[in-house]
Symmetry: C2
Subunit: 466 residues, 2 copies
């Protein structure tokens, strides 16, 4: 590839500072939140839909890979370039509209998730999806991975809030899909294909999101269980008892001990499991739900540690969320490296999955911390390891493969909210039959006939599964 | 077409009573709930996925149109055959699983919506979508049209509950898409394409649906407004006030008078508009919401007519739902025929849309009753007419076209929950640019290369828009 010529073409429609070619400038776009590494040949900082169309026209003509990028917080390697153009979208960070009457926000893809939530709250509104990286990740990335988070148990995932998308296709064509209406059955719902497509079909340049009224009150409980199985069983019982909690978050003993050592708060480190439960809504309903959840947990052997209720501006639950927020940094201190998986199983299979993960840890000798959104069946088994030890890394690979195999055998899936990226690519042919993989490729070809959009991500090459 | 040979081939894999060829037997499959009429050449009563695959293998080989059919309650002509095979799915009416632990139901497509709701309620669970025809329509049809209903304001549409689908493609290939997991980002989400596709891509043979806990209490209000605009404005104010009602249903004076004459219950027939509002959840929250909704409505000039609260088995709101349920039969008595449209606009445009519909009625001299799910911006302007009068029907066509034009101009869509079918086909090229229509056809070709699935529905032929 004649990169000088490519850069000259790119610069024709952009300001000089929008096209970055020096090594240092490019280096910082070669990572995400995993240990995947790469390097783009050029970085373009798009500032408008027209900029994106300009890049995709040139890239499509010259068959150059384009890797769209938001906050770089991905957990699957999806935004890590292996050459080509890194299309950075964080400068497109305007909230174009926040309309209480229509109940929508219209945003550019580079808006930080938390910024949208704050803007909505200022109008008494609420944007529920809350991926753990919400202080840094972008809405564009959230849509591209169909991001989740703890509150998805009650409120659903990013997909459930996307009413409209503007997307740019390879070649530069701009499609506007959906809009400010709450219900629409007037065509095939093309926007659904782009949600969760991990940048492999086109580039999302504008998003219309549904907002809800902000619930006036929120409360939370922390409950400890002597036995991990009892915590799993209590969760399944709770979710078939008539209550829809805001969230049911789980952490096992390894995770809890790491959190307690990171930031001591008196967690019962001899217990095998901790559940954080929350409810939101009208104050009276929240109080009633907290009481019912407490009794139910206690009847399954749970021990109430703390309870807290927010009303108005008094945020007494903060201390409980902090326990959850410390999980990732706390686990990071236990070993030089960690590999965080994202399997999801049907709710009733949570106890079986938790048991199997403990067996896998014993079989491979790899410590596995287990935590996650247990109410959704979405668990993050986290393999603690040292990448400098090849023998250990071989066992990590075996453990990860065994976890995927167990999840699929229990009717589960490889990823609930992180995506496939490059890290889980090899397992995709085990998760889908060839007939479905063929359709994936046919869809890909429909929007991206030359395969320039984020190649090598999400979809395994046909030679790897036929 | 040599129909004797086709019928012989179809009968090879089926029992004699599954293949119907006599005129009387076929006649009853030539209608839906509109005035569209047609006639299939043969009716096949499928009883299994294998039966469906058998039919689609033969139909694909011989290029015979296949029209899948559920309850025949559609409001857009989508299930009305113009020759070919009517594939009747109502015998596939088993609830295969209802699993409180996983929070799902697995059903065949011919299950009646109300039957699923009752089965869920027996387990303390709740399936929210509630199209008006729920006593007769099938879940398969609900998925194929992405059906809505009053409760969708709070709980979303059918799409929001579909976790998994089994579909049979032309040629007989069976794909299983999704399953019992609440979160899945491991491939392109193919099932989304089939939801709302009106039988044009393949046949849905099994559906896995998410169920919610059944809310313990429900309450409702009836509020009258002297002026229609005030009712519209009160709705917009309510939905940006921090409350998420279960539903906000609207009827105008024509509709209210029709209901009162059909079944007198003391409705204030001199008022221009009636709103039915409902809330559900914990009893204390429902009471608080009803009070807040009442004050807010009154502050916009609304007059409280009735209020009712259900708790446990005491269903005091029944009387209020009855008012809503009488709308369709009551309007049917006002004129020999009626044409019920289904436009949706952004919430803030509801007053403008209502004004425009009144103007259109005056301009064309066609009485138009207006009612619908005003909280979603989804209105059903109902044109009252006599099909035997060609001059009047020309004015009906003009009025319908003007309604679609106004909805599109206000950022709305042709259909919120009924679908396109044949009745709105001519307006689709006004709603989508050619670039999007081309993608619709490319998607269609991907799943149905010979165009046998429900031809002439949903997608206008390219010659009509290029």
């Amino acid at each position: 590839m004649d990169w000088e010529r490519v850069v000259r073409r790119l610069r024709e429609g952009l300001r000089p500072d929008q096209v970055e070619t020096d090594v240092v400038g490019r280096l910082v776009y070669g990572y995400d939140a995993t240990w995947a590494e790469g390097m783009p040949d050029v970085v373009v900082h798009a500032e408008s839909t027209a900029d994106v169309a300009h890049v995709l026209r040139i890239a499509n003509e010259l068959r150059i890979p384009v890797v769209p990028r938001g906050g770089g917080t991905g957990l699957a390697g999806g935004a890590v370039p292996q050459g080509g153009i890194c299309l950075n979208l964080v400068r497109m960070n305007r909230i174009l509209a926040l309309d209480p009457a229509d109940g929508v926000a219209v945003v550019q893809p580079g808006v930080i998730t938390r910024a949208l939530q704050q803007a909505a709250e200022a109008h008494g509104l609420f944007y529920p999806p809350d991926p753990a990286s919400l202080e840094m990740c972008t809405i564009g990335g959230n849509v591209a991975t169909n991001a989740g988070g703890p509150r998805c148990l009650k409120y659903g995932v990013t997909r459930d809030y996307v009413l409209g998308l503007e997307v740019v296709l390879p070649g530069g064509e701009v499609l506007r899909l959906g809009g400010r209406v709450m219900k629409d059955v007037s065509g095939y719902d093309l926007k659904q294909l782009f949600i969760g497509s991990e940048g492999t079909l086109g580039v999302i340049t504008e998003i219309t999101l549904r907002l809800l009224p902000r619930p006036p009150a929120r409360g939370a409980l922390a409950i400890a269980f002597e036995r991990l199985e009892a915590a799993c069983e209590a969760t399944v019982a709770l979710l078939s008892s008539g209550i829809l909690p805001l969230m049911v978050e789980f952490m096992d003993q390894i995770t809890m001990r790491a959190v307690e050592s990171f930031h001591p708060s008196g967690l019962p480190i001899h217990a095998e499991a901790l559940l954080l439960l929350a409810a939101d809504g009208e104050p009276a309903a929240v109080e009633a739900n907290l009481q019912r959840m407490t009794s139910l947990m206690q009847s399954h052997g749970g021990q109430l540690l703390r309870t807290a209720l927010d009303t108005g501006d008094a945020l007494h639950t903060e201390e409980l969320w902090e326990i959850r927020r410390h999980v990732s940094p706390a686990l990071a201190r236990l070993a030089p490296h960690k590999l965080s998986e994202d399997i999801t199983v049907p709710r009733s299979r949570i106890p079986a999955m938790a048991r199997r993960i403990r067996e896998i840890s014993q079989e491979t000798g790899i410590p596995i911390a287990l935590y996650g959104h247990i109410g959704d069946g979405n668990l993050h088994p986290t393999l603690l390891c040292d990448r400098r030890n090849p023998e250990e890394m071989a066992r990590v690979a075996r453990a990860a493969a065994a976890i995927f195999e167990a999840a699929l055998a229990l009717g589960g899936v490889l990823s609930g909210e992180h995506g496939i990226g490059t890290l889980k690519l090899d397992f995709v042919p085990h998760a889908f039959p060839p007939a479905i993989l063929e359709k994936f490729w046919a869809l890909k070809a429909l929007f991206d006939p030359h395969g320039i959009m984020n190649p090598g991500k999400k979809l395994p090459m046909p030679r790897n599964w036929t």
